[in-house]
Symmetry: C2
Subunit: 384 residues, 2 copies
């Protein structure tokens, strides 16, 4: 397998963007990545446009985005895996380069979610569950993850306080990230006293719909060594799936099989173990998801995720710093952009550009990007 490097990353500020269309949002993230990579758009041999569908009137967005970004006549197309779209896009970009098909590829993740009403977003999200067997019964994203939360509480004694700790941590780190949607610290009382959404998940246990884009520029080893002083290497790639319907999964509902499988593949390919990871980005669409991810990724033993959060071991300086850019909970979750944004954070950590939140001597970073109700999972391991 030929080596593949990341030579540029970019991201818009996440939040509400009534002023910008999807093509303009995508351009902002793209422009920053191209400048970061010190290349020109015409150097890019293919673009992979990653988003979830139905949030915007524009079907097949790669068409308008490639045109607006000046990327014709190079190949472009759309990749969709709901919230894991750009995690999957990275794998495809890697393959295009590792196979020898291309030397420089852009992965562009974006989403504009705030044009729809809350009710419309709920309906759209419901339809990323099985529309034949589940969503007609009123399933929603918070509802699905609340089932996982209840199961984890019952089986392992995980508490609402432990979940609240995750929200407090991620909102704290968002104050240090100028690209984050939220910029205010919150207290345990704020979380625990916030409006109930789907018991036991309250407002602050849930991420926010937002607008934004993030972009990754990938290059072959030869090109990377030529154009970049600080290439970051894609060292492990894992991708896995779980059944979409909850009834077809392990009935315990305390773990995401696709995370376990994807992590296994990524660790194997990269030749590292969980203890070697210096900094991680994990998919905290809800506080309980981050806690389960700690366990599924091997950062702690099964059932110990709540305790890891409670002890503050996932803060900077702890056993394994997680989501110290604010995570989905506080940085925002414009779904198609999330995977690429996680990669951006890690690349900046591995280059030593993370400022206040720099993990000392960070050499290995792990990104975990979950799609939908956990039917897709991409785990990516980067090395400095």
């Amino acid at each position: 397998m030929n080596k593949v490097a990341i030579i540029g990353v970019g991201q818009t500020k996440f939040g509400r963007r009534p002023d910008a269309s999807i093509r303009e949002i995508a351009f902002e993230g793209f422009q920053e990545a191209v400048e970061d990579a010190q290349i020109m758009p015409e150097d890019i041999q293919a673009s992979i446009v990653c988003s979830a569908t139905h949030y915007d009137k524009q079907r097949t967005p790669a068409g308008v985005i490639a045109e607006y970004l000046g990327l014709n006549p190079q190949p472009t197309f759309n990749v969709e895996a709901v919230c894991a779209a750009s995690g999957v896009g990275l794998r495809i970009g890697w393959s295009f380069i590792s196979s020898g098909l291309h030397d420089i590829v852009a992965v562009v993740g974006f989403q504009k979610m705030t044009e729809l009403s809350s009710a419309e977003v709920q309906e759209v999200m419901g339809r990323s569950g099985d529309v034949m067997w589940e969503s007609p019964f009123g399933t929603t994203m918070p509802g699905y993850f609340a089932l996982y939360a209840r199961s984890h509480m019952q089986r392992y004694g995980t508490t609402e306080d432990q979940m609240a700790k995750v929200a407090v941590k991620n909102h704290f780190y968002a104050t240090k990230n100028p690209k984050a949607m939220f910029g205010k610290e919150i207290s345990m009382e704020d979380v625990l006293g916030s409006r109930m959404i789907a018991s036991p998940l309250k407002r602050y246990d849930c991420c926010s719909n937002s607008d934004g884009a993030a972009c990754i520029i990938l290059a072959s080893e030869e090109v990377a060594r030529k154009v970049s002083d600080t290439p970051v290497w894609v060292s492990g790639l894992g991708l896995a799936s779980s059944p979409m319907t909850l009834t077809s999964r392990d009935p315990s509902l305390t773990s995401f099989d696709c995370t376990v499988e994807a992590a296994k593949e990524a660790y194997r390919m990269s030749g590292v173990e969980p203890k070697d990871v210096d900094v991680a980005e994990v998919h905290d669409c809800f506080t309980i998801t981050e806690i389960i991810n700690y366990e599924d990724l091997g950062f702690c033993d099964r059932g110990q995720g709540g305790k890891l959060a409670e002890e503050g071991q996932t803060y900077l300086g702890g056993k394994i710093p997680v989501n110290i850019d604010g995570g989905l909970l506080a940085k925002g979750h414009p779904v198609g952009a999330t995977g690429a944004s996680q990669i951006r954070t890690l690349v900046r950590q591995l280059r030593g550009q993370a400022g206040d939140t720099q993990v000392k001597d960070a050499k290995v970073g792990l990104a975990h990007n979950l799609g939908g109700i956990g039917m897709y999972c991409a785990v990516t391991i980067l090395k400095a």
Copy 2:
């Protein structure tokens, strides 16, 4: 670049399928391909699910389809390039194998278009044009391609009779394809007398919305030589894009730039020229598109496409047999399945399994899959 082979192909009958859901349609195409490849579903290391969006209530269909096909926990995700989705899916599958990531990959293309009313389909299709600058003014797919037809007629003297010849040919060959939607020969008078849709395109100049699925099983050289007596090799892959808005294209509107670019790349990679192609599948969403494709792919000189059709040179026994499985016009065009169906036809030709429509000693096949209004194009060259 490591070699990649096609070891199995399958397809449903195209047409109206009110009896089957998308997962059931996908399964039919998949099952035939798996049997053809003589492998088991559990041998498949990744699946790539290709479709256009918004025709079905189910978002992110890879979730339900991978579950129904028994492909969990292996990687799966969705690829979209409107009508070129499975042409793009093939390129991704090729990269996964050529890079060494996987040994066996399934590309599953499907679409169910007949649940929506005609008016709804028109609206959905319109939104694969630019929703900011073009579709609000009432653009439709036949309208877009009618502009190309008028321009080609004006510039090169192409006639409605020449276009009608394409429809007559493709309906003739559909009578020999048990998987085709239509099974009746039509006459020049039928075409020329059919209802006007978007002048000069009449009913029989246009393909039909339909339901169906097609599947391709790809394998590494090592696996292919072990499991298959008749591997067909993916020898050239071209993918290119054009601006989505017509106003940003070459104003002549007589050629699709993305076809020219994709063909150039595929011919170069494969080391063949247009004259070496024994049998071709080209994207005949409208009769004029097939004529323009003849020229863009180099099967005749610029402006001579109408004449090539008129002379019957694209029938079996002619200079270059094109769409002798019925094409989109008469086999049907369930958009996400079309690219994979083209590949199935060529694989059967290159194996010598095409029965009545067998091209003698076919060694090189070319598939051309156009997306949307010609903003994406995948050209694939196969060798026996």
